[in-house]
């Protein structure tokens, strides 16, 4: 993010989202989640708790999965943000294909966040164990209880990635 001009309480800011530079005028304390949803109309990233407890709002910040509900616009300076709308590449495709194959979603509200966390996990650890999956995925809540299928889908995606490597 690069500050272009300061008003008293709003900020004209440049942010890098999904590979594009976008100009936003918002208060610098506005969480990235609400910048995405309200200012940019990108609603794939979900509001769930506002306290980094459920991770429905997960995005990638320089490739690392993180919550966006407590991440102020001012902290996104010089960082590369990826949202579910911009999630691409072979890991993303493997994860989403596995989600389809295992039929993970029920209500689906948490699934953007689950997919984002799973994709980040597989980018760093191509063959995660159950313990690795627990460790990475425990931050993401699913109120419908799709955890068992999320685990299966991550293993399945890892297998696909291994086969195509």
């Amino acid at each position: 993010m690069r500050a272009i001009a300061h008003a008293k309480e709003t900020l004209m800011a440049e942010v890098r989202i999904n590979g594009k530079t976008i100009t936003v005028e918002a208060s610098p304390d506005t969480p990235l989640l609400w910048v995405l949803r309200d200012y940019l109309g990108m609603t794939g990233t979900k509001f769930g708790c506002g306290k980094a407890l459920c991770r429905a709002c997960t995005v990638h910040l320089d490739g690392v999965a993180t919550f966006s509900c407590l991440l102020p616009l001012s902290a996104v300076a010089g960082r590369e943000v990826t949202t579910i709308e911009g999630l691409k590449g072979r890991v993303a495709e493997a994860v989403q294909a596995a989600w389809d194959k295992i039929q993970v979603p029920q209500c689906g509200y948490c699934q953007s966040g689950q997919v984002m966390t799973a994709a980040a996990l597989l980018s760093q650890n191509a063959k995660p164990s159950d313990a690795d999956i627990d460790q990475a995925m425990q931050v993401n809540l699913c109120r419908c209880g799709t955890y068992q299928r999320i685990r299966l889908a991550i293993h399945d995606a890892a297998k696909q990635l291994e086969a195509s490597a």
Binding site: S27, D38, K51, L53, D100, Q103, V139, R149
Partner: protein, 710 residues
């Protein structure tokens, strides 16, 4: 248009030509006896349309909240209509009295009723439409209809084919067929077969639009502060600096709270923090959890309403030294992951409401009242739901959104609750007290009594449905009691507690199953019998229930006695016409246990969409863990003490054990599957805990008894 009531099948249908070509078939979803009761007043509540371009749509009065209605109901239709289910489009139903689910008394999605209700009527509709399309083709070809068949959206005769698109208009002019034969189960090609959820792919890609995601031109946002005390109101407020904050349009007093309307949600939230509000707390301010349970306790000697009776339980108990116990269930929050929200537009042409709701009809009524218009002037645009669990049967947030939007006519306003708003202003699951007595005779149960004392949700939401003290939802888990016991006395007592309570997935099934299935386990131990054998001995007349219990015990490797720090607990019930049994396997010791596995056997009749039946059981079991392990709502000075997922925790991935499921195949009518996975988790774990540690825990959540589930 022609209308037909088929008394043998008790199904109504209406057919008419669609303006511009095509056919539209109206049918009624709901219990067949309801349709039969009022043939003159028949109004379809679901419509199947075959468009002139061959597209098929179903206007469905049930809402999708993850439970798979948008796929499983389409499968019922597609099976008989002979189309690919992936080609059928679902359209959300508007709020309209014609959509009332008469089984539930309102236009709601709940009670695990959707597939049960649609089983006959949607297949009937599909078959009727198919026959009319076939008849139209036969007429065009001048061949007997019996020589034609329908397949994949076409009618075929020898080498000739006509698409539904070409036939729809002529089909609408055919008389309604008199005899419509439904396929036998052996010929099903869609029902019971694998099919990806029709709404699944979008959900894995962030493309699905939930209520909270809906956009309208010129839309602004609202954040609302409500009285911390349940039922309290605004006494006075000072908007102070809030009004001058960037983006703020208005600060509004709606009586039950103060709202800030702003260009963006974060601006509304930030400004709201600066509004100073004095509250009129109201009568609930003196209420706490202890007082609530004391209120239930004071009703323990009320006779209550008799739900089920056999023999003479009083006499049988007098003859023996009875076993007695009392059980409690806790209050719970719903915490659907999509926070409550509603987009409302009040304009000269009426009111438009875009909202994730399980209850469009109540949404319409409350919106009309809040806006001061007639219900017919309110258009409800029902959206895909990011979790319901019963919370979205209530419409408080819809009333608020319309009251706020009314202040800025012509501007759509989206009200979004925070998670804290959601937990602190929930309608919690009712607390309950259960009094149980039983007499044993020769290792069998000679008499069994159960009195459940609880506030009534139905008395608040559907007062006319509660008759003679009988709340239909409080008797769940009791009315279908499966055990053959000669002397039985089952009652409910409605006792209000000073705050409103709400329907929570599986409703009273979970409360009653915890008490009854734990107590049956106590009786097995008192009789020195294996808890599985003890139950089986009372299920001679219940072959389906026997089968699931035997299967769950076998698959789990159930053993009555703990061995090397490992123990099993079992529970069994009939729930929404589905038979289910569950075994929990625990390891550990009195202070600390680990849930190793849940094993489920289930007979839900014909599983329309088998993979999603499994999904409902898996997810239902996780919801059951919320009930069983540590979550609770408590109240102090009228305020709910929990506020977010830190104080109202729900299971995370490492806390969910493997869930193994065996489905018993069946040709019976489908049972309800949306909730059946929930109720048995708590008693199965509590029974395992007793087997492991010798400690009988009779109140939920189990961790309150001093045992930690890591």
């Amino acid at each position: 248009m022609s209308t037909q009531f088929d008394s043998s099948r008790r199904t109504f249908l209406k057919v008419s030509a669609l303006a511009g070509g095509g056919m539209i078939l109206g049918l009624r979803l709901g219990r067949p006896e309801e349709a039969a009761a009022a043939p003159a007043a028949f109004e379809p509540n679901a419509w199947v349309t075959v468009y002139p371009d061959g597209a098929v749509s179903l206007v469905c009065p049930r809402n999708e909240m993850g439970q798979d209605v948008y796929t499983s109901l389409i499968m019922l239709l597609a099976e008989e209509l002979a189309v690919d289910p992936r080609q059928v489009k679902v359209e959300e139903a508007a709020a309209n009295p014609v959509y009332i689910n008469r089984l539930m008394g309102a236009q709601i999605t709940g009670g695990s009723t959707s597939v049960r209700d649609a089983w006959d009527s949607l297949r009937q509709a599909g078959a009727t439409a198919r026959m009319m399309l076939v008849n139209a083709a036969a007429a065009q070809w001048s061949v007997p209809a019996a020589e034609c068949r329908a397949e994949n959206g076409q009618v075929i005769h020898g080498s000739k084919t006509l698409s539904y698109a070409a036939l729809a208009d002529a089909a609408a002019r055919q008389p309604l067929p008199k005899d419509v034969a439904l396929k036998p189960a052996s010929e099903f090609s869609v029902i019971g077969k694998p099919l990806p959820r029709l709404d699944g792919a979008g959900k894995a890609r962030g493309q699905t639009v939930f209520g909270i995601d809906v956009k309208q031109p010129g839309m602004v946002y609202a954040a609302l502060a409500q009285c911390p005390v349940l039922g309290g109101k605004v006494a006075s407020f000072d908007a102070g600096a809030a009004q001058k904050r960037p983006g703020v349009r208005k600060v509004v007093d709606i009586g039950e709270g103060v709202a800030v309307i702003a260009d963006h949600y974060w601006e509304a939230r930030s400004a709201l923090a600066e509004v100073k509000i004095q509250w009129d707390d109201g009568p609930a301010a003196r209420l706490d959890t202890k007082a609530i349970y004391a209120t239930l306790e004071r009703s323990k000697d009320k006779p209550g309403t008799i739900i089920k009776q056999a023999g003479d339980a009083t006499a049988a108990l007098a003859k023996a030294k009875p076993v007695t116990a009392r059980y409690n269930s806790q209050m719970l929050a719903h915490v659907a992951l999509e926070p409550l929200n509603c987009l409302a537009l009040v304009s000269a042409s009426g009111v438009d409401v875009w909202v994730s709701t399980q209850h469009p009809q109540a949404a319409q009524a409350t919106a009309a009242q809040a806006a001061g218009v007639e219900p017919q002037q309110v258009r409800i645009h029902a959206q895909l739901i990011g979790g319901g669990f019963g919370r979205r049967l209530d419409v408080d947030f819809i009333r608020q959104a319309v009251a706020i939007a009314k202040v800025v006519p012509g501007t759509p306003v989206k009200l979004i609750w925070t998670r804290e708003d959601d937990v602190t202003h929930d309608f919690p699951r009712p607390p309950s007290l259960h009094l149980l007595h039983a007499a044993l005779d020769g290792g069998r149960v000679a008499a069994f009594t159960h009195k459940m004392i609880s506030p009534s949700i139905t008395a608040r939401m559907f007062p006319s449905a509660v008759k003679d003290g009988n709340d239909y939802f409080m008797i769940e888990g009791v009315i279908d009691f499966t055990y053959d016991i000669p002397n039985l006395d089952m009652r409910t007592v409605i006792q209000e507690i000073g705050i409103p309570v709400g329907y929570w997935r599986s409703v009273s099934n979970a409360l009653n199953a915890f008490a009854i299935e734990s107590f049956v386990d106590e009786l097995a131990h008192a009789a020195r019998r294996d808890p599985v054998e003890f139950r089986l001995a009372m299920l001679d007349k219940q072959p389906r229930q026997r089968a699931v219990l035997e299967r769950a015990a076998k698959d789990a490797g159930f053993k009555a006695r703990a061995h090397k720090g490992r123990a099993f607990g079992v529970a069994s019930m009939q729930c929404y016409d589905t038979h289910i049994a569950m075994v929990a396997e625990l390891t550990g010791h009195a202070k600390k246990v680990h849930l190793e596995k849940l094993t489920i056997a289930c007979d839900c009749g014909i599983a329309v969409h088998p993979d999603q039946v499994l999904a409902q059981l898996q997810g239902g079991a996780v919801t059951g863990l919320i009930n069983a392990v540590r979550s609770k709502v408590t109240i102090e000075r009228g305020r709910i003490q929990q506020s977010n997922f830190d104080t109202f925790p729900i299971p995370r991935m490492p806390q969910v054990p493997p869930i193994e499921i065996a489905m018993i195949s069946s040709t019976e009518r489908p049972g309800g599957m949306g909730e059946a996975g929930v109720p048995l988790v708590a008693p199965a774990i509590a029974n395992a805990l007793f087997a492991l540690t010798g400690k009988r825990v009779r109140a939920l959540p189990l961790e309150d008894a001093g045992v930690s589930f890591e």
